[in-house]
């Protein structure tokens, strides 16, 4: 590798500048500014349908496989691995207008498509980060979506709680929301 190549390599690995939050400084960020979407279209022509309609509390859990050890000199070191991201949507009341839920129901309940349920395309949009018009988003190509039940109490709504493990290729970029239709589109960072 000559000097010029070394310089180019260094430039390629240069980190992108930190994003800023587009919300008002001093105000907390509203929960609804981070939404997970399931691709209910195709890989080439995605249709991003939100997950979590009527869910009141859901967080992405990050498991870093943390390992802490003390060496013989008395120093403490901690190791992380790439985090595994999981998220639970509970209770998830069945709703014919919830496109993501209908797709998951068909795959899990009607078709028992256990292989397909581990290979779903999902997008997390952080509407509060980056610019308001093109917020930061991350796409995961092979997520495991696991309905954990179907039912509910008499006189109430039928529910299908869902657990998601984000996986596959992670592609970061930006999202945009059509001002008329509300449709979400994703552009990978170049």
């Amino acid at each position: 590798m000559d000097d010029e190549e070394i310089i180019e390599e260094t430039e390629d690995e240069e980190e992108v500048a930190d994003l800023t939050f587009n919300t008002t400084a001093g105000n907390t960020v509203e929960r609804e500014l981070m939404i997970a979407y399931l691709n209910t279209g195709t890989s080439q022509s995605p249709t991003w349908s939100p997950i979590g309609k009527r869910v009141e509390d859901s967080s992405i859990e990050l498991d870093w496989s943390e390992e802490t050890k003390n060496d013989i000199l008395g120093q403490t070191y901690t190791n992380f691995k790439k985090p595994t991201l999981t998220q639970t949507f509970d209770p998830c009341e069945l709703d014919g207008g919830d496109t993501a839920q209908v797709k998951i129901w068909n795959m899990a309940i009607k078709d028992r498509d256990y292989a397909g349920l581990t290979n779903l395309d999902m997008l997390i949009v952080h509407f509060y980060a980056g610019t308001a018009a093109t917020p930061f988003a991350e796409r995961y190509s092979a997520c495991a979506v696991r309905p954990t039940g179907l039912g509910g109490e008499g006189g109430g709504a039928m529910t299908m709680p869902i657990e998601v493990t984000y996986g596959g290729t992670r592609t970061v970029g930006t999202a945009s929301k059509d001002s008329t239709t509300g449709a979400i589109s994703f552009s990978a960072a170049t």
């Binding site: 609804e32 939100p50 979590g52 009527r54 869910v55």
Partner: protein, 148 residues
Amino acid sequence: MNEQPKVLTAAEEEASISRSMMKWINTYPDLPVNIANYEQLKADVSSMALSTIQAAAVVKRFITGGHQGEYQFKIVYRIKPGNSNDARLQADELLNAIGDWAANNYPTLGDNITVRKLEATTRSSLFAIYENGDEDHQILFRMLYEVI
């Protein structure tokens, strides 16, 4: 002990619901008066009113935005029964019939706002007696709606 204070819905939202509720109650097929009013009952004549019990409040907030709200109201039927127990019983029967009808005939509240549940929380009963012989009978309702 640690009950969270209720968060009121926007005044505009509550006003819009109240207007829709007025249209809805006046669609009841066996309404005993020409028009059910909002919060107003006339003296010495039979009249009916829909009245809010307390301000509409947010009971749930959803992670994708939107919320579930609670709107409590009552329907008051004013009669002048004199010595007729039958008139009093008929008033209660009428309000109870409205309660049953309401559970199966939800009002239309507008775009992006839908009724999840509407039910009478009491059966009709006497609420007040006035010196002029008017009597108010009432039934209480609770409506859960969603703004998504």
